[in-house]
C-alpha cells in the first residue's frame, strides 16, 4: 500500500513538473519564428523604391534563415538566430503608400494584432516620423534603414535607431565634391574655376524629407561659399513641374540640385528635357534619382546625372561581400542591388545581429543590444565602416559609422546605363563626365 502511494506521489510529482514545464517554457524556446513588421511604400509614387527595399529585406531574411557557406557574413553561417535556438526571422510587410497616417495605423496593427517584436522601415521620412512616435509610445524597437531627414534622430527617442547616414552627411559630401572639382581632384576633369560652377538652383519635394534636404542645401551652400539663387519646395507627387523647372532655369544655374521621389524625379528630368536645359551639373539627393524605374523609364537621358547613394554594383569590384550579395540579388530579381535594396538588406541584417546579441525578444533586451551593437564594415554590403549607434548627445540612435558616395550615370561599353562611383575621389570607378551635355 505504501509502495503504491509512493508511486502515486512520484507520478503526481512528474506530472506537476511536466505541466509546469509546459506552462513556463522560456519565450526563446517556444518561439520558432520572430516576427518583424516591415512598413514600406509598396504602392504610390515611391512604389519602385518600396519594392526594391522589400526585395533587399527579403533576401537578407532568406540568408539569415538559411546557411550560405560561401558568404563571409555572420548571419549566413547559421540558420536562424542561434542564440534563440535557431528561431527564424519572419517579415510581415505592410504598404503605407507614402501616407504618414496610414503608416502609424499599420504600426499599431503590427504591434497589437501581429505581436511583432519590432518594426523596420519606412523610407519616407514623414512616415518614419509618425511610425517612430507609435513605437516610442508602445516601447517597441524600430530600426530605420532608409529615411534620411536628420530630425528623425534628434527627437530623443529611446526605441529608434537609424542605420543609414542622413542628409547632413550626404549634403556635405556634395559640397566636398564641388570643392574637389574646383581643386582638380576629380578623375579626368581639369580644375573647374569656382566662378564657373558657383550658381546653384534647387528643387526639393515638400514633405519632411525634402524640406530638411532643402534647408541643408541652404546651410552648406552658405558654408562653402556657393550662391544658391533659387531654392524651391514643390508639392510631392506633382503631375506637372513645368513652372518649377522654368523658375529654376530663370536664374541660369550652373548646377541643378534635387530631392525628389521616383515619379517626381522622372517628371523633373522629362521637363528639363522638354525645356532643353543645359546646366553644367545635375545632382539628385538619391531617392527617385536612384531607382531602377528612373533608369528604365528615362534611358540615355540620365547619362551624366549625379546622385548620392550608399551603394553601387561597382562596389563589388572593391568589396567581395557586396559583389556576392549583388549576384544573389540579381539571380532573384533580375536587377542589380540598388541604394534602396542595399539599405533594406542592411536593415534586416542589423535586426538579425541585434536579436542574436539580445538572445531574447523582450523589448528591453533588444534595446540594450541595439545600444551596444557593433557590426564591422566587412560584414556589410554598403561601404560603411560599420554599424554602431550613438547613445548620447544630440543624435540618439544614429549610426555613427555610415558614409555616402556620389554616383554618375554613364554608358558602359555594352551600351548599358550604369552608376559609376565618382566620389569619394579615391573610390572613383570611372572618369567624371563634366560638364553635363545638356538636353
Amino acid at each position: 500500500m505504501k509502495q503504491a502511494r509512493a508511486v502515486l506521489w512520484i507520478c503526481l510529482g512528474v506530472m506537476f513538473l511536466l505541466v509546469t514545464f509546459c506552462l513556463y517554457v522560456p519565450p526563446v524556446l517556444a518561439q520558432q519564428e520572430i516576427a518583424i513588421g516591415v512598413i514600406y511604400p509598396i504602392t504610390g509614387g515611391a512604389a519602385s523604391a518600396g519594392r526594391e527595399l522589400q526585395n533587399g529585406a527579403s533576401l537578407a531574411a532568406e540568408i539569415a534563415n538559411g546557411v550560405f557557406a560561401d558568404l563571409a557574413m555572420d548571419m549566413a553561417k547559421e540558420a536562424g538566430i542561434k542564440s534563440m535556438g535557431g528561431a527564424k526571422i519572419k517579415l510581415i510587410f505592410k504598404d503605407h503608400e507614402g501616407n504618414p497616417t496610414l503608416g502609424a495605423d499599420l504600426a499599431k496593427k503590427l504591434i497589437l494584432d501581429d505581436k511583432v517584436v519590432g518594426i523596420l522601415g519606412c523610407y519616407h521620412s514623414a512616415v518614419t516620423k509618425a511610425v517612430s512616435a507609435v513605437c516610442e509610445q508602445y516601447g517597441i524597437p524600430m530600426i530605420n534603414d532608409s529615411s534620411t531627414s536628420p530630425a528623425l534622430t534628434q527627437q530623443g527617442y529611446k526605441w529608434f535607431w537609424r542605420t543609414t547616414p542622413h542628409d547632413g552627411t550626404f549634403t556635405k559630401d556634395l559640397f566636398e565634391f564641388l570643392k574637389g572639382l574646383s581643386e582638380g581632384k576629380s578623375k579626368g576633369v581639369p580644375p573647374v574655376p569656382k566662378d564657373q560652377l558657383n550658381t546653384l538652383a534647387a528643387a526639393c519635394e515638400k514633405t519632411e524629407w525634402g524640406s530638411a534636404a532643402s534647408a541643408l542645401l541652404e546651410k552648406y551652400a552658405k558654408e562653402y561659399g556657393y550662391d544658391l539663387k533659387k531654392n524651391i519646395l514643390y508639392t510631392a507627387k506633382s503631375a506637372d513641374l513645368s513652372s518649377e523647372v522654368r523658375s529654376l532655369l530663370a536664374v541660369k544655374p550652373d548646377a541643378l540640385l534635387f530631392a525628389s521621389y521616383t515619379s517626381d524625379a522622372i517628371l523633373m528630368v522629362k521637363t528639363l528635357k522638354a525645356e532643353k536645359a543645359k546646366p553644367k551639373l545635375i545632382w539628385g539627393q538619391d531617392a527617385g534619382f536612384e531607382t531602377p524605374e528612373f533608369r528604365t523609364t528615362l534611358g540615355e537621358d540620365i547619362v551624366g546625372i549625379l546622385t548620392r547613394t550608399v551603394f553601387s554594383p561597382k562596389l563589388g569590384q572593391v568589396k567581395k561581400i557586396s559583389g556576392q550579395v549583388n549576384d544573389l540579388y540579381k539571380k532573384k530579381t533580375g536587377y542589380d542591388l540598388s541604394d534602396a535594396s542595399a539599405r533594406g538588406f542592411t536593415g534586416v541584417q542589423t535586426w538579425v545581429a541585434i536579436l542574436e546579441k539580445a538572445g531574447s525578444t523582450r523589448p528591453e533586451a533588444i534595446q540594450a543590444a541595439a545600444n551596444a551593437i557593433n557590426i564591422p564594415g566587412d560584414q556589410l554590403v554598403v561601404p560603411w565602416k560599420g554599424i554602431k549607434f550613438s547613445t548620447s548627445g544630440e543624435e540618439l540612435g544614429q549610426n555613427i559609422m555610415g558614409s555616402g558616395i556620389i554616383g554618375q550615370y554613364q554608358k558602359n561599353q555594352a551600351g548599358e546605363v550604369v552608376l559609376e562611383i565618382v566620389y569619394p575621389f579615391e573610390l572613383a570607378t570611372s572618369k567624371l563626365i563634366y560638364p553635363f551635355k545638356g538636353y
Partner: protein, 306 residues
C-alpha cells in the same frame, strides 16, 4: 533683361490655358443646358487620361491618336451617367443633385483605385514626347503642349460650330434657354439633356487624353481639374462657351504668375524676390481670383448661358 523668362511663361500660360478651357467646356455645357453642377467632372477627365494612356500603351499607338477612343468613352460615359443616374436626380431637390454628382465623383475615383491602384502613371514615349520647338531667345515650346493646345482649339471650334450651326445644336440651345418652351415646340428635351452630358463627357475626356501626354495620371488627379474648371466656368460665366475659352486662357496665365514674378525679380535685380516661394502657391492665385470674381461679378465675364 530676362525677356526669355517672361515670354516662356506667357506662352506656357496660353498653351495650358487652352487645354484648361477645353476641360471646363463640358462643365459649362452641362450647367448651361440643365442647371446642374457636375462635381464628377474632374473624374471624367481622369477617365479620359486613363483611356489615352491605356490605349497608347496597350495597342502601342501614338498617344495623340487615342483622342477618338477617349472621346467615344467620354460620350458613352456621359450618356450612361445621364440616363442611368442623373435623370433620376432631377426629380429631387437641388441638394440631391449636388450630392448625387458628388457621389458619382467618389464612385469613379474609387473604381479607378480598384483597377489602377494609387500609383502615378505617365506616357514616356511618343512622337512628340520630350521634343521642343525653339522660338528663339532661349524660349522653348514643348511639342506635346503645343499639339494639345492646337487640338483643344480645334475641339472648341467644332463644339461651337455644332451648337450654333446645326439643328441639333440649336435644339440644345433652346433646351438651355427655356426647357418648357422647347418641349412645347416638340424638342425632346430629355434626349437633349443626355446629349449635353455626352458632349460634356466627350470634350473633357478628349482634354484628358491630351493632358496625359505631359501630365501624370492617378485616381486623385480629377480634384485639381474640377477646382480649376469651376474657377474657369465662374470667371467666364456659367453656361457660356466663349466665356470658358477666354477664362481658360486667363487661368492658364495666372498659373504662370511665378514666371512673371521671376522676370520682375531678374529685371529689377531684387534678389529677395527670388526667395519668395511663388511656385508653391501657383494654384492659390487661381482660387484667389475665383474668390474675387465671386465678390465683384458673380455672373462672370460673359454672364450666364450665352
Amino acid at each position: 533683361m530676362a525677356l526669355d523668362v517672361l515670354v516662356s511663361s506667357l506662352v506656357a500660360g496660353v498653351l495650358i490655358g487652352t487645354v484648361l478651357a477645353l476641360v471646363a467646356l463640358g462643365l459649362t455645357i452641362i450647367f448651361g443646358v440643365m442647371d446642374i453642377v457636375n462635381f464628377a467632372h474632374g473624374e471624367f477627365l481622369m477617365v479620359g487620361m486613363y483611356t489615352g494612356l491605356l490605349v497608347a500603351q496597350g495597342v502601342g499607338m501614338e498617344p495623340l491618336l487615342t483622342l477618338p477612343a477617349a472621346g467615344a468613352v467620354g460620350f458613352l460615359l456621359g450618356i450612361v451617367c445621364y440616363f442611368g443616374f442623373v435623370k433620376f436626380l432631377l426629380r429631387g431637390p437641388m441638394l440631391a443633385q449636388l450630392l448625387g454628382t458628388f457621389g458619382l465623383m467618389l464612385f469613379l475615383r474609387n473604381l479607378a483605385l480598384v483597377f489602377f491602384g494609387s500609383e502615378d502613371r505617365a506616357i514616356h514615349h511618343g512622337i512628340l514626347v520630350g521634343k521642343s520647338l525653339a522660338l528663339g531667345m532661349g524660349v522653348m515650346i514643348p511639342a506635346t503642349k503645343l499639339a494639345a493646345a492646337i487640338l483643344s482649339v480645334l475641339a472648341f471650334i467644332c463644339v461651337w460650330l455644332f451648337i450654333h450651326k446645326t439643328k441639333t445644336g440649336k435644339a440644345l440651345q433652346a433646351t438651355a434657354v427655356n426647357p418648357q418652351g422647347a418641349r412645347y415646340v416638340g424638342i425632346p428635351t430629355d434626349k437633349m439633356n443626355g446629349l449635353a452630358w455626352a458632349i460634356g463627357g466627350a470634350t473633357v475626356t478628349i482634354a484628358g487624353a491630351l493632358l496625359v501626354n505631359f501630365w501624370a495620371v492617378n485616381p486623385y488627379v480629377g480634384l485639381l481639374f474640377t477646382m480649376l474648371a469651376f474657377t474657369i466656368v465662374a470667371l467666364g460665366g456659367f453656361g457660356s462657351v466663349p466665356g470658358a475659352f477666354v477664362a481658360g486662357l486667363i487661368v492658364g496665365l495666372i498659373t504662370e504668375l511665378p514666371g512673371i514674378w521671376d522676370f520682375i525679380s531678374i529685371t529689377l535685380g531684387w534678389s529677395w524676390m527670388s526667395k519668395v516661394p511663388m511656385t508653391s502657391f501657383k494654384y492659390t492665385w487661381v482660387y484667389l481670383a475665383y474668390f474675387i470674381i465671386m465678390l465683384i461679378s458673380p455672373k462672370g465675364l460673359f454672364g450666364w448661358k450665352r
